[in-house]
Symmetry: C2
Subunit: 685 residues, 2 copies
Amino acid sequence: MDFALFSLILGVLSIIYSGFAFFRVIREDEGNQKMREISHYIRRGADAFLRREMEAVLAATVVLAILILAAIGWQNALSFVVGSLSSAFAGYLGMQTSVRANVRTASRALKSGIKGAFDIAFTGGTIMGTFAIGIALIGISSLYMLFRTPLDIIGYMFGASLISLLVRVGGGIFTKGADIGADLVGKVEAGIPEDDPRNPGVIADNVGDNVGDCAGMGADLFETYAVTLITAMLLGYLLEPIRRALGTMAVTLPLMIGGIAVIATIVSIPFVKLRNPKRIMGAFYNGLIISSIVAIALNAILIYGAGGLETAIVSKAGLMVSIIAGVLVMASMYAFAEYFTSGSYGPVKRIAQRSQTGPAINIISGISSGLFSSTFPVMIIAVAIIAVLLANGGLYYPSVGFYSGVYAVGIAATSMMSMAGMVISVDTFGPITDNAGGIAEMAGLPKEVRDNATDPLDAVGNTTKATTKAYAIASAGLAALSLFIAFVLELPPSELDSLQIFNPLVLVGLFIGAVVPFLFTSRLMEAVDYAAFSMVNEIRRQFREFGILEGKGNPDYEACVDIATRASLKKLLVPALIAAGLPLVVGFLLGPTALSGYMFGAIASGVPTAVWMTTGGAAWDNSKKVIESGLYGGKGSDAHKAAVVGDTVGDAVKDTAGPAVNPLIKVIMTVSVLFAPMIVLIHLL
Amino acid sequence: MDFALFSLILGVLSIIYSGFAFFRVIREDEGNQKMREISHYIRRGADAFLRREMEAVLAATVVLAILILAAIGWQNALSFVVGSLSSAFAGYLGMQTSVRANVRTASRALKSGIKGAFDIAFTGGTIMGTFAIGIALIGISSLYMLFRTPLDIIGYMFGASLISLLVRVGGGIFTKGADIGADLVGKVEAGIPEDDPRNPGVIADNVGDNVGDCAGMGADLFETYAVTLITAMLLGYLLEPIRRALGTMAVTLPLMIGGIAVIATIVSIPFVKLRNPKRIMGAFYNGLIISSIVAIALNAILIYGAGGLETAIVSKAGLMVSIIAGVLVMASMYAFAEYFTSGSYGPVKRIAQRSQTGPAINIISGISSGLFSSTFPVMIIAVAIIAVLLANGGLYYPSVGFYSGVYAVGIAATSMMSMAGMVISVDTFGPITDNAGGIAEMAGLPKEVRDNATDPLDAVGNTTKATTKAYAIASAGLAALSLFIAFVLELPPSELDSLQIFNPLVLVGLFIGAVVPFLFTSRLMEAVDYAAFSMVNEIRRQFREFGILEGKGNPDYEACVDIATRASLKKLLVPALIAAGLPLVVGFLLGPTALSGYMFGAIASGVPTAVWMTTGGAAWDNSKKVIESGLYGGKGSDAHKAAVVGDTVGDAVKDTAGPAVNPLIKVIMTVSVLFAPMIVLIHLL
């Protein structure tokens, strides 16, 4: 049977499942009048933001499609458009779902408590989980069946990652600008609680949760999934000896491994049930473990069942090691992220303890803990690569083992994608419950609804967000590495001789590439700072002019949404140019040799940058929560005030700057791979 | 004439000059009884710390010397001991000088105002400036005349950089632990002014300025100077075609270019006079500009005067481009550092403005500004390398131009060293004036002494510290790059084939190497956090038990010095092992291929890490000063409180973590180059 056709069918199946999940959520009750009204505000704000963001996305798509059409060819231009629209649509749908699931989760929490609320929120998550992988499978398999070569699908990767970057960055600036701005004036200056409806920034803050966490993470994981699959397909095509040994299967096997995610997800969803409200994370671990087991089993059937996979240079045992390595990397990343970000372990407890000596020491120990944590994912990825290489052909370059080794690394990255559906479902759960809590507060639902249902669910959401980011970064590291090698394989053999690491041009490229994540994250933090500053001024103005706190006037929510929207769109261009433009400048100016250094430099410093920011940020957040639970004086103590400072800094690094490094790396890789033939052409002139 | 002998003579000349400067300082008046007493305390504290640190340093030297003797040979063991003792002695003497110059500066400030104080403080700085380069020249030329091959002097580099790392790290932890601890309890909790003699931590704080800034920066710049010279000598030796073309001169030319620093420094010192107390930085710029002009002129005479430098692959014009490139890099780094750290320009003003919205936004904009700034040094270095390569042989590796190009990059790095004497003199000025201010405060000198003399001098010290760090990092980047290539040239030709950047082992090495600066700085920040926490507890205990604030008892300064000493020595081991041990683990376990990736990964992420931390930290510091000068409410305002938080975080990153990355990179390079033959041997077994 044709693996590509099979993947297409699996993709359609996934979309159908997603539709059923959508109707399961939509038929739920939306709650009382007040809840509907608030939900309506959030939805309208989200629509307003998304409409304008999508205009920018469409404009970028059209311009770039024309450029690709002229420079590369219609095949990649078409792939680009499909990839970019799929990415945009995945983000759009994720958000449309979550703004509907949030109010229904709140309503269920009111009616039947935490178990019911959990059920609706998770079902909401599965809509996104199954839709994202479904649409990716449909797009990639159709394009592959049309062109029969992955070289023509490179545009899809670029489209998916570029749009994911735009949605991530735009959403990240919006959400944290709104969040920090609303908190600084509301909680700190005016002394009103979080999510108080008198705060003009409160709707923008809730819109932001959807815009940043749902649309942003949705587009990001969709992109991770699609790019990883296509990269492994590309390796199967470009690694000559592998293609000769495996034939078409070299290219379609990764597609099939990715397709397994559909079955693994759908089979394991029913196991995610909240039995013990004290162990919410346990329900997710059930789902993830079952999803992993199903994935390993199906992959084993695939590898041992399919004919022609045991050749002189590829072995079934070696491929199975890759599959298992991928699953182990995922498990290690979850354990790693939980250790460094959960309030139950040393690192977070230490930051909480240090907060007693004031905000400065809180910040120092947060940065220190974040930087320290970045060592582990790198080591995990390094060990996985070495293990996969050893099992598949040996460590050394000038040998045939190089080809099977590199292909096996691509397969290991794809194996991580076999659990992608479940990971996305769990992740989308976070912002839905976060919003449900906000709606419960704003609608004045009884305090127990928050205390016993939405708050515990939301706290778990913090952990799932951190673990998902760790998963995304690890898989991005492996996929980017494979893409980097795909880029090298695209170069003419004459260029390969100059790719020695001691070639000064390679070194200069590496040097410049390694500073890009620093430059890029600095611009995002500056943007958050700018957006928050604008929000602060607007909220202060409304308080002053409308007399909201004195009960004289009503807040103008839309003005705040508008400010955050404009700030985020304004600050979108520079990061996008850094990501997609700089590699082309380096490539066309200094040639493919320097560009290869540049690409890897960006991966090597990008992965630890992404990790320190996301785990450090989550650790700050949870160390505040540890203090709020009563330690070191609890809420309102000096330690708590210090922890709030760390939490706010953490917001900017963990929700805006850090996670955007993942699509940054991908955009650098995909734009380079896409334009490689042209760069070589110009360079040889 | 033999360049090596000539350099030796220049080295002796430099030491003699240093001796004269020392006596010029020492014959100055030490001031009144109170001042002598305080100065005595600081000196005793510094001695206590240094004695124990030197014990640790000696122990490390003995153990490693035996290891090198057994593994490499007696020549490198001897070189190692000479290098390591020279480094220790440079740090030791720098500190002994500054603890004598500080009280005399304060005394002169009292008697004859700012101009006299400037004169003594700068003369104190020149002791260190001329001594450091003198002892390096004597050591390197003697060893070279003894062995006649730079391969046997590699040990000197490792010794110099390892000890510099220990002194930097130990001093950095001591100084910031003491500083932050004393400030948190004294200024923030007890509300007494900085340098109030009732604060038990105040002597430790002042000891720290000498330990961190004088001994630390002294050993660091000594190491930068020595390593840069030997690296270029090594390149002249290992680049076969260059050695064939230039003969012995390939090796001795860098030594001679370094030796020019002696004349350039001594000639330009008299020009550093404070004419206008409003333009203190101008006096230094005079010295630096004259030093640069003299260096360029002497280098031109050297290059155009010496016979045999115009060959088929080396050109005099090309070498002059390298010389000028080195000077331009230095000038650009000064301009860069001043723009990003001085209160007169946008970046610092912006952080000050953002401080109005509280400490969190202050931190976010400081990190953002620091990360952003790291782009520029990388670009400056990249442009310089490309220019030097273009002027000396072309950009591409598999060509003869590679050899002349790489050699020319080494010469450019050495050219930066022609101004090293003046740079070190200016830098040592900083801690001397900082201490002089402390002594003036503690001895209760009239307020005008601080306001009109020591405070303005100290403020400039902040800028010179930042510019010196930028200079050190840029030269470290160039030198490390050259050392990296020296490492590659040491490998057998069969290994070179596997050094392609797309070799998975190279990539794994790069990946691990790039995370090392993150890991290393995280440990240093954790150490500062630990030391500060211990200090806070001790100072609180003394306040409580002795009743110091109530005037019932006297503070026990020595107990605080002891706590900071113990904390810094305790936290020395792990960073040292990361720096010197990890490369050996990677080298012996994964082989020279992975190690080469590791080395360059550490450079590529290390340089931006060092930059963001040092410039970001200085920007925080000066944004606080901007507010203290009266902006946004001035001292005591909310904006000021927010800026104090940023300043404290900045202390840890700019004086401990950031600057230690420079010796970190060097230790990684030198230990790898030193052990390369053995790593290759084991690997080929």
